[in-house]
Symmetry: C2
Subunit: 570 residues, 2 copies
């Protein structure tokens, strides 16, 4: 491909409205353009990356004997009413009526459609197990789309669904899909982790998420060095400490703490570490009630754990400063569990605290020397917090590490949630009717583009893994339009490279070298070959790998073999 014939659409300026590196680089490298909030056009370079990812996913799904189909984007309301999701799904489900006033939605997922298909097409156990997948455009009407294609409204998913006669078959296919996902993310050249996950609203029991590791990731993932434990932070249980609570040594005392609100301010004021303080959060409970959530000062709340508590409203909602002030007669920064007249849950870790510090429920005052049982009743001790780096892992796998990840894949054991409500059964070997068991398996194709960039970039631009790079190599001639023999040499190398199977971008614009170099680095092309009259005299080219610190001169005749070896060292 020649740049002169191509809409490169590169930009020097960092786009003002793009918050994340991947969003900025996708705009600057000309991969996408926004059409409407959360709705993007894929430009030529971006589409190539997307297609490379699609192709790897397709090949591995086919190898796993999944059957590719293509379901409609527009789905009839009736199917969603059968499973009850027409009412359950929030405003993310974009609903509309056609010209005959029949209800439809833009499909954000396809459990209903595939289950309906299988209900009419699969009659016999001989056709099972069956895995169907599609690579397709979906729509979720996100309230606040952001980060470009990372959280867009229109996006491309690979979604797959499996159907089984029994649990054992589901387990086998689930394992095959898990391994298929590993192959896919290995081939994509991404650093990732599979973690045990919450199965959320999709329903079902077991599930794993696949996260691309990146500092900017929205999720925290917890794992151990021995590889035997990895889970989404949401899912990592912490235990009731086995230690004895130390006996109280101090008396409770109310201290004036003017202007001290945060845990950091309070612990500094009292000259203690944060783990000697309590943090009290106020959330909404059932109906108009409020609930207190008490954590050790240095710990983080785990929202999913809080949402699971009986008295706490789900989804979790923090009480506003106004409500707290009105109901509890003090500001947020002065709340504490002593004489707090609402239900209180306290994290396990606080059960072994003595002589602690907490808000006095009076503006500008804290208590010190507080003790459970003596100064306030023993609360309900429950698991409420995120595990911290270095704590022992569940199951004795050593201390945990915590990393940030971007969720790009999710596999679920759905069970019979959809097959029961939609009445999908088939006859087994003995002619007995069996309700089918389902699994489902998603990969966010368009999101992977952004996640790959979050993980692989530097201050000059994108650094694509070679399997998904839009081009394998860039040929950049210097002043080609002034030298016929350079032109001939460049075109010869260009044809040779294409014939050798490389996807080549020839920068034949009449631009200054600096502009061309900057664009090729911004685009993240793995290999760059610079040709000039001078190099031609020496029989060399100037080569630079995208992550190399320096360029180097290499013999012109060996350059393609050199690149091939570098791509495939074995």
């Amino acid at each position: 491909m020649e740049t002169a014939q191509r809409l490169l659409a590169t930009q020097r300026q960092i786009p003002a409205d793009a918050e994340t590196v991947s969003h900025q680089l996708m705009l600057r490298a000309g991969l996408i353009r926004q059409l409407a909030s959360g709705v993007y056009t894929w430009l030529p370079t971006g589409l190539k990356v997307l297609r490379n990812i699609e192709q790897i996913v397709r090949e591995e799904m086919d190898a796993a004997k999944a059957q590719e189909i293509l379901m409609p984007g527009v789905q009839p309301a009736e199917l969603w009413e059968e499973t009850g999701r027409w009412d359950q799904f929030g405003p993310e489900l974009l609903r509309f009526s056609d010209r005959h006033d029949r209800g439809f939605c833009l499909g954000p997922t396809h459990e209903e459609v595939i289950t309906d298909l299988v209900r009419s097409e699969i009659r016999s156990y001989k056709q099972l197990p069956a895995i169907f997948y599609q690579i397709q455009t979906k729509f979720r009407d996100e309230i606040r789309p952001r980060f470009g294609v990372m959280r867009s409204r229109e996006f491309i998913m690979k979604d797959a669904y499996s159907f089984h006669l029994d649990e054992k078959s589901l387990q086998e296919t689930y394992e095959v899909m898990y391994q298929t996902y590993e192959k896919i993310f290995d081939r994509l050249g991404l650093e990732y982790r599979a973690v045990v996950a919450d199965s959320g609203n999709i329903g079902g029991d077991t599930s794993h998420e696949f996260h691309v590791l990146a500092e900017s990731g929205e999720d925290q993932i917890v794992f151990t060095n021995n590889g035997n434990f990895a889970a989404n932070m949401e899912m990592v249980a912490t235990q009731m400490p086995s230690a004895q609570r130390p006996s109280p040594e101090a008396s409770i005392e109310k201290v004036s703490t003017p202007g001290k609100h945060s845990i950091s301010e309070v612990s500094t004021f009292f000259s203690v570490s944060e783990d000697k303080t309590l943090k009290t959060l106020i959330v909404h409970g059932e109906k108009d009630s409020l609930v207190g959530i008490v954590l050790r000062g240095d710990h983080e709340l785990n929202r999913v754990k809080a949402e699971r508590l009986d008295k706490v409203r789900s989804p979790l909602k923090f009480a506003s400063a106004e409500i707290i002030s009105k109901e509890l007669k003090c500001d947020v920064g002065s709340i504490g569990p002593v004489k707090l007249n609402i239900p209180v849950y306290a994290d396990y870790s606080t059960s072994v605290m003595s002589d602690f510090i907490c808000g006095a429920n009076e503006n500008g005052f804290h208590y010190k020397g507080v003790n459970w049982g003596r100064d306030l009743p023993e609360p309900d001790f429950v698991d409420l917090r995120n595990i911290s780096q270095g704590e022992p892992s569940p199951g004795d796998n050593g201390p945990v590490k915590i990393a940030r990840g971007i969720e790009v894949g999710h596999i679920f054991q759905l069970g019979t949630k959809y097959s029961e409500s939609m009445k999908v059964s088939c006859l087994d070997e003995n002619g007995k009717s069996i309700t089918l068991i389902m699994g489902c398996y998603g990969i966010g194709i368009s999101r992977i583009v952004a996640a790959a960039i979050e993980q692989n970039h530097d201050d000059r631009g994108i650094v694509w893994p070679k399997s998904i790079a839009p081009y394998d190599l860039a040929i950049v001639p210097i002043n080609m339009h002034k030298s016929k023999r350079l032109y001939d040499s460049v075109m010869e190398l260009y044809q040779q490279a294409k014939a050798a199977g490389f996807d080549v971008l020839l920068d034949n614009r009449k631009e200054r070298p600096g502009v061309m170099f900057a664009d090729m680095e911004l685009l993240g092309i793995p290999h760059r070959i610079v040709l000039s009259d001078k190099a031609l005299d020496a029989g060399t080219v100037e080569y630079k790998g995208r992550s190399d610190a320096e360029s180097r001169d290499l013999p012109r005749d060996d350059i393609l073999a050199f690149i091939r070896d570098r791509n495939d060292p074995d």
Copy 2:
């Protein structure tokens, strides 16, 4: 691929609600399933055909230096308001609001989106001409979807748009696209014709349609043997006859014609050929007016020509029997131009008729011996009819032939319709701002699947052109599960065929041979190889091409070379 792992979903029964052969066969061969009216899921076999077509289209568009992009399916109302099409487009444009009450539509076409993209991305004449294309799912809310994917609501299009500084550049690209379309339809293995077409609502001047020839086609196309003339029937002008009108010989006479309404009945009653009679149609004009349309009895009305007449309402609407009876005091079958008190247009061909027969505007009566100028005023003679088989073609290219076609491609010279309303300009070499000139180029990818079947089928099923067949060849073993050595031989051939690059379907179901043969013929696979223990002894296989009358025994070792030669005789 092995059938036992595949959702073949073949059916013996002809589906009751499928009117056309292609719709019936697409259901029976398990290519598609309906999810909602005009909305289909593509099953594994159907998707393979769709992808084969996509790939040919993609390769040829790439070869023509068109740049592939992917625009969103969901489009914001504002863009459509800029071009005025938000109001002009009928209810086929599915409009809806998102959760923030902003207006959107499901894109039936992408002129607005691409023009908006080019408006912000193309700055300089150096980037022109540029052709962008996408292969994408579109939605048109057809009032009456029918014929399966032939006229569905959700469908897959290749749409391309080109941008130019001047007319000459547009002409050049238009010519390249015309040739690209010829290459595409040649490679698809379809019999087709490119014809001059009406550019309709898309706007612009010149356009050509590409039609797949099939008896069931909705369009009539007109062409000559010398290849120099081909047009959609809508576009073929007929001329005012140069002959002199014969002088009247008979007097006008009112004849009782009880129960004779149609031209056929009337001409039989009078024992004359139909070309001695006049046919009078009543259509709606402006406001509440009616207009008479007079044709020679044996001629067909051309709706597009009628719609272009000043006094005739567009789109054309025939007056109902009730309205005719009320306003003209007689039934449809007795209408004629004599003393008809509404404006009358008569086709050119009627200008040379004398002593003709027509309705008397009185139930049960016709006139004979009628003559223009004497018995009724000379009407406006205009071009109103379809040309007939064998008439001289426009431009002296010999007699015309008429065939039926299915429109699968359409190329337009759009001019500045969109670039003017959306203010898309760029600087030319001299720094002068130029409003861009556009072309657009569509191919109905999903419709081609149906059109290919309409053209290529027999009473046993589909007969795919080899380039788009879902599989190259089928291997059908007889009683393989009873013979280990047959199994080994079959698997060896299967592996050899795959290694030789064939896409193979191995029918390893435990079905009777008749069932397997019927399925493979229904699926339309170009080559079938049957293996049995008996043939194994003889060192042969039984081979049958899909269109062959008989199967034949061929040496086992030569079969793949034989098929390769048959596919590529050169």
